[in-house]
């Protein structure tokens, strides 16, 4: 029916398990959360609805229940380099990317969708972005990105892929469309951009050129204090691993 993969099997157990894993082991500092309630709120965002009509605000209750402080200076935004970011963030110990927050942690690498007029999850197939924008998973990440940006403070880091086709700063993109518009100027002291090329990859983009220049200009116009570094050494070492 749809072109994308169906809902991940055992989704409920995985989401609830991850929720408890996060509050008991990964980051107990967030305190007590009701993981069953969180699962219900998550599910209710998209079940019994046309799977092409899910909006970010449908996840509002889920976000309210999972929200916690993001420590200042630890936010790490990124585009086109998820595995690299996961290595670099060290599961929240060095930086806290959106996947290291409770709301991001429970949804990472999973897939889901419902169906109209039925309370069940669709395990057969789910709509892709190209089939419809307002699908359950993309709206989830939009909401998560918006929330993540709104609660980031201090020095924020942005990791971009200088070898990416189409530019290091993709437009449209999550960072461009959902995160930048939700950054809180009064809470942010500086934005640090790192443009890192793949090892032996093309140096398609770098600070001060092309899409990165567009990004720097946009942020400066918005009133942020911006710095940009090419091939930030720390991150380069991670790339050498592959």
């Amino acid at each position: 029916k749809w072109k994308g993969e169906g809902t991940t099997q055992n989704l409920e157990s995985i989401v609830i398990g991850r929720c408890y894993d996060y509050i008991r082991i990964v980051n107990p500092a967030v305190g007590e959360k009701n993981c069953s309630q969180i699962w219900e709120a998550f599910k209710n965002a998209f079940i019994n609805k046309d799977p092409c009509s899910i909006l970010p605000k449908d996840y509002e209750l889920f976000i309210n229940l999972t929200l916690h402080t993001i420590p200042p200076n630890k936010s790490l935004f990124w585009e086109n380099n998820q595995l690299l970011v996961n290595s670099f963030a060290a599961r929240g110990r060095r930086y806290m990317s959106v996947g290291d927050t409770l709301f991001g942690f429970v949804g990472d690498f999973l897939n889901w969708c419902g169906q109209a007029d039925s309370p069940g999850l669709d395990y057969e197939s789910c709509p892709t972005m190209t089939e419809c924008e307002n699908n359950a998973v993309d709206s989830f990440w939009r909401m998560a990105s918006i929330t993540y940006a709104q609660h980031s403070s201090g020095v924020i880091q942005v990791l971009l892929n200088g070898s990416a086709e189409g530019g290091a700063y993709p437009q449209p993109g999550f960072f461009a469309d959902y995160e930048i518009p939700n950054l809180q100027k009064d809470k942010i002291s500086q934005i640090v951009i790192w443009v890192v090329d793949d090892i032996e990859g093309p140096d398609a983009d770098s600070c001060g050129t092309n899409s990165v220049k567009t990004l720097e200009t946009r942020l400066k116009t918005l009133g942020f204090d911006v710095t940009c570094t090419d091939n930030y050494k720390s991150v380069m070492f991670l790339l050498c691993l592959d």
Partner: protein, 305 residues
């Protein structure tokens, strides 16, 4: 007149005595009621044994189940036939309602059988005193698997559990430390899982040791030194590669030529394994360099061999 006073005094005394009796009865009733009401509430905790280590992880069932499904669904779909509910039940049965100092390998046998799976050759990565670094490495390089990257290890990592003969059979307050008793649920689990992990290894195996530890990189008392090396199967394992990692910026307590390493090499050679030892294996060192980018040991990959 004297007669009237006498009877009034008797009446007063009677009232007083009745009053006292009523008060006493009420007091006794209150005490009885209080002990009955609080009896149930106190029943659970004070009867449980008290230990020195942290107790069972709260929501253990949800965490274990979630991790099991996460592993077989999202990460290793080839293990799709595993029954996570049965696996959880077999873990619980291994320790619930038991005295946590009396756990045996037999208690874990059903769990081990249900949750074990084959490990591809040349991918087993053992470790000792390098927990943080080795797991950062396997997260970024999926060519190697530590015990904690297998289903059993993945479910149990950083989780604790122990039982108690009193209801509800699980002790969330405390669990025995190794020095309180060796046959505790955690120690027995990890010893068994380590033994099986070693037995399953084939081809070339790797081990990451710490060359900055004062007590020596290889210790016979560690799980690696006491269990894993003796359970490698010489019919399946051909070679052992030792990666001896020192902290960036030292101390350089030991290198491949060091005493404890020589001891390890001789033990392994006696069992007919070929050994290769490498100081500061470069790919892992690069990971260390992420947090020490300006150190002289940390030149970028384009310059190094």
């Amino acid at each position: 007149m004297p007669l009237q006073q006498g009877s009034a005094r008797v009446r007063q005394r009677t009232v007083l005595l009745v009053g006292i009796a009523v008060l006493l009865a009420a007091l006794v009733l209150a005490v009885v009621l209080a002990s009955l009401l609080t009896h149930g509430r106190h029943e659970v905790s004070p009867k449980m044994l008290k230990w020195k280590d942290r107790g069972t992880t709260k929501n253990l069932q949800e965490v274990i189940l979630g991790r099991c499904y996460n592993y077989i669904t999202a990460q290793h779909p080839e293990l799709g036939d595993k029954d996570c509910l049965k696996i959880w039940e077999s873990l619980k049965d291994a320790f619930i309602y038991k005295n946590p100092c009396n756990i045996t390998p037999e208690d874990y046998q059903p769990l081990m059988e249900l949750a074990s799976h084959p490990i591809p050759c040349n991918k087993s990565l053992f470790w000792s005193k390098t927990g943080d670094l080795v797991h950062r490495y396997t997260k970024s390089n999926q060519n190697f698997l530590t015990l904690e990257d297998t289903l059993l290890g993945y479910m149990a990592d950083r989780v604790s559990w122990c039982g108690d003969p009193s209801a509800p059979g699980i002790n969330y307050e405390s669990c025995p430390k190794r020095n309180e008793c060796e046959s505790n649920p955690g120690s027995v689990f990890w010893k068994m899982a380590s033994k099986m992990f070693a037995e399953a290894a084939c081809g070339v195996v790797q081990v990451m040791l710490n060359g900055s530890v004062e007590a020596g990189a290889f210790r016979s008392s560690s799980i690696f030194g006491s269990i894993e090396i003796f359970n490698l199967d010489p019919d399946k394992v051909t070679e052992v590669h030792i990666w001896l990692m020192q902290n960036i910026g030292g101390p350089q307590s030991e290198s491949c030529s060091g005493q404890s390493i020589q001891r390890l090499i001789s033990i392994l050679e006696e069992r007919n394994f070929r050994i290769i030892c490498e100081d500061n294996y470069r790919p892992v060192q690069l990971l260390q360099c992420v947090h020490n980018p300006d150190h002289t040991d940390c030149r970028l990959c384009t310059n190094s061999s």
